[in-house]
Amino acid sequence: MSPESPAIVLESVSKRYGSATVVHDVSFTVARGEIVGFLGPNGAGKTTTMRMIAGFTTPTSGRVLVDGYDMATQNVEAARRIGYLPERPPLYETLDVRAYLRFVAKAKGVARAAMAAELERVSAACRLEAVFRHEIYKLSKGYRQRVGLAQALLGRPHVLLLDEPTAGLDPGQIHETREVIRAFGEDHAVLLSTHILPEATLICRRVAIIDHGRLLAIDSPSGLQRAAEHTNRVTLQVTGPARELREALTAVPGVLDVEIRPASGEGSALHVECHVEAKDGVEAEIARAVASRWDLHRLERQQPTLENVFLRYVSGA
């Protein structure tokens, strides 16, 4: 296995449950030293894809390679190279944190002599020292998530699969967790699934966008950022002449594009959509320009949501 070949390879991977296709012909790679974000709304097929890479589920068709080992035929060899944090941290409630981590380390083949140092390393990385002897059922949600991350880091895996690792954490913990992932990603391959847009743009080098089981695009965070900015819109309902309205709106600084159509069931009112730059105060300028001359019924600023970003990718823009 040459060091240049990607750590994770998906070749035309599909998964069907009965007649429902959950993942459809997905191919991509993740190289060492790279953090790839896996972005999609809930139910897009992120978790199923993660599970196929981790070896929990077998693809209906296609192939998953981890460090060159085929997940279907060389399962144990491939699994040895993976650290996996599922969406719901897989914890044994009655064990204490130490006993739990010892079990995982032992199952991953960590030698007895290296055990203490290895447990110390991951508990320091995930800040678990304070709860090391506590039973897991007594831990808060943030700690449970971090124990889950710690077990994934055990045994120094080459590949880290994290299914929504910051879900349920408070802002401070989110920051710490991102730092752990960022540090790990410097010389390992990390695939990180999330449905939070800024998370993907903040720490990932590339972002794979998935929806309805299909890979829509693999883009850079800056490309994603542009797509997100493109979804900055102000919508308004106004009664007035369409042509003059368009002229007035186009003259407002920050407005890029204007679309006008009759509002449904509102008499002579018009529905206007302005595509604007991503800066504050544009909606106030628009309100001033319109309200002084015509009747303004409603004005709304739309934030770039994941859904809107997806629409951009789906529509191929």
Binding site: R51, A54, G55, F56, T57, T58, V76, E77, A79, R80, I82, Y84, P86, R88, P89, P90, L91, Y92, E93, T94, L95, A99, F103, V104, K106, A107, K108, G109, Q151
Partner: protein, 235 residues
């Protein structure tokens, strides 16, 4: 090997941190103590035969409570996703869990040895019959455990797992009773061969037959193989 050991140690830790194991052991020892006293005072003989028979039936009823958590609890807690993605083969998982349960069955057997103290103090029991009885008890316990573990892998609900295991084990215990109703010699032989109780009765009488040892070993092996194949098939 270290994978199997890891699963085994986790199972043992799981047993001793859950109240169910203590409850099962306590009920078993109380039940055995009661039957022991009853049999001794009723018959006046220094023998374990009656007690062994009752211990067998207690095992059939209580082992499902030990085995029900082995896989059903893993599904419930979402830890099956961890077990199946660690570098472990299905056999390491299945055997690790089986040996964890087997340790508990052995511990139960050892704890009942205390009943032998008055037997040897006040009588002259047949030592060989007692040894073979214990051998039968352990073999029966392991076969029950393997069947119970398979039932636990088939459902996400621990109660259902225990009920399936108890139903199957009771059927295998009492199937020998059907012998009396069979006209065809082949069916008579089959119902007799399948009976957990009839093979166990041989051991109680001090008869160690290779056929009986093979029977329990085959039942355990079939259940464990189905269990490992089911894990593989689930992926």
């Amino acid at each position: 090997m270290s994978g199997l050991l890891a699963v085994y140690q986790k199972e043992l830790a799981g047993y001793f941190r859950s109240p169910i194991a203590y409850f099962v052991v306590a009920v078993f020892l109380l039940g055995t103590g009661y039957f022991f006293l009853y049999n001794i005072f009723f018959t006046g003989d220094a023998t374990m035969a009656g007690t062994f028979h009752n211990m067998g039936l207690l095992l059939i009823l209580l082992v499902p409570l030990l085995s029900m958590r082995l896989f059903a609890a893993e599904y419930g807690a979402g830890t099956m996703e961890l077990l199946l993605t660690l570098p472990l083969t299905p056999w390491q998982i299945v055997l690790g869990k089986f040996l964890g349960g087997a340790t508990l069955v052995l511990a139960i057997a050892v704890a009942t040895v205390v009943d032998l103290v008055p037997l040897y103090l006040f009588g002259t029991p047949e030592t060989l019959a007692i040894v073979s009885g214990y051998l039968g008890f352990v073999l029966l316990g392991l076969a029950c455990l393997a069947v119970g573990q398979l039932a636990s892998a088939l459902t996400h609900n621990q109660i259902i797992a225990a009920l399936i295991a108890a139903a199957v084990l009771l059927a295998l215990w009492f199937v020998g009773h059907l012998q009396a109703f069979q006209v065809s010699p082949a069916l008579r032989a089959l119902t007799g061969y399948l009976s957990f109780a009839l093979h166990y009765a041989d051991f109680i009488q001090g008869l160690v037959r290779s056929e009986a040892i093979a029977f329990y070993a085959i039942v355990s092996a079939i259940a464990l193989t189905l269990n490992a194949s089911y894990l593989q098939w689930q992926r």
